[in-house]
Symmetry: C2
């Protein structure tokens, strides 16, 4: 059957697949200085945010992504006090970080203010910690910002970006990741969204090489389900400065997708990926 325009469809061209959500209304259609931002209401997924034609998140299933981008890094670090999020304009990662009482400050560096304004309006549950006194929201370029940061000043860095094309491509490149390495404290942890192990394994391989070349001592890729992203299976890649990943802290948080056991189990990759990534 053909799908009409009552569906929002994202085509994954290189993989010959497409994913669609039934939409009931378009709530926002804005050309920001950086990208094309759309918000839809859907039949079964709550609100849907789209950037440049790609699904960013829905109310219904963003917990998979936000749990896995933020919590493995936060719970692997023995005492994360200073946290930086690059991208993450929907503020869901910031919310997850600020659930940790030990955090002293969390800085979100999102280039596009319009994304956060839209999140505040359409995804208020993700923005509920935006006024936490420990939070700083800045709307500037993450690559430029990183260059200016002092050495060894950050415990955990989350790279919560769009796909590595266009503006976000630099966030996967050696120059930026060397800067991240410099800015992290010893034992500091980076977590970066790293696409699909099924559709984009060469990209993950390349990212891990770049991280190890930048000097990181250890690297782990954790896959997780994400229905609305290409292949329905997404991943986060973590890297640690100076030390191997150690014990997972018991953080005492109740999450929908993340738990200490899930964190442990997610390190096991299926043979087709484990062989290539040597994990």
């Amino acid at each position: 059957m053909a799908l009409d325009n009552s569906w929002f469809t994202e085509v994954h061209g290189k993989d010959g697949s497409a994913f669609s959500l039934k939409v009931t209304a378009k709530l926002l259609d804005e050309k920001t200085p950086y990208q094309h931002l759309e918000i839809y209401d859907t039949e079964d997924w709550g609100k849907l945010m789209v950037l440049d034609g790609c699904v960013m998140l829905t109310s219904r299933d963003n917990f998979f992504y936000h749990d896995m981008l933020a919590q493995p890094a936060m719970c692997w670090h023995p005492n994360p006090e200073n946290v930086v999020i690059i991208g993450g304009g929907d503020c869901g990662s910031l919310r997850e970080v600020l659930r940790h009482d030990g955090v002293k400050n969390a800085v979100q560096i999102e280039i596009d203010k319009a994304v956060t304004r839209a999140a505040e309006q359409y995804f208020p549950e993700l923005c509920e910690r935006n006024n936490d006194p420990r939070a700083t929201l800045a709307f500037i370029d993450g690559v430029a910002w990183m260059k200016e940061q002092p050495d060894t000043s950050v415990d955990v860095m989350l790279i919560d970006s769009t796909d590595p094309v266009g503006a976000a491509e630099a966030l996967f490149g050696p120059e930026f990741l060397q800067d991240v390495f410099r800015v992290l404290k010893p034992g500091g942890i980076l977590a970066q969204q790293s696409e699909s192990l099924f559709y984009h394994l060469p990209l993950v391989t390349g990212l891990r090489s770049t991280l190890l070349d930048a000097g990181f001592a250890d690297c782990k890729t954790l896959p997780f389900p994400q229905a609305v992203y290409p292949s329905g299976w997404w991943s986060v890649t973590l890297a640690r400065k100076d030390e191997k990943f150690g014990a997972i802290r018991e953080c005492g948080l109740e999450c929908e997708y993340y738990s200490k056991a899930v964190h442990q189990a997610a390190q096991v990759l299926p043979p087709f990926a484990a062989k290539v990534l040597k994990q």
Copy 2:
């Protein structure tokens, strides 16, 4: 954007989502006595089999499903000699079972001969063990067949069915599953495809209750990625007669998705599912 008819689309109506594959040709369109069978060639997925409008498998990604339907049951059983597959007409599960040298006979009970004939033509790699002297292929109704089997005669039973609507609904019901219980030997293991933990959690809950009510001593649901199935995340539910699941055997098989470590890790469910399923 709208998708035209160069895409095969399956709509997941209750969940307001749809998944599409770019097709290049329709190779078969047959109304069998049981269902509507279509085979397509695709741009990036090899061949695609569709039954009654639902994606059954593609050349590219069926290894996720076949590994996880067959290998956890085969490797959890200490010595599986007599194996039965109900459904599974594409013969991929049969192939996985017969990779185990200890198997003495494997019986595939598929109601629709046309599915297997199509698999032999379009998915020959899945049918490469069909002529193994240990294999028996019968094209009869699995529910009726099961009623006639002697007590305690089978080590491992795989229920490799379509969705639990129409013909396959009975395979999820108490009458059939009590029969399966009766036919399994002590320590015998059932593995059943059990839909998505994200879209169909109530169905999984119901299946597990039915299995425990039928007398099974232990029950485990293992999720795995499957891009072409609704939500991109699928599951197999296993149940064991008379005994709890024990150690996983080192089977010495090289699989693309399955490994002993993957088997162990897949038992860890995310909190939102673990709470409901009590696993």
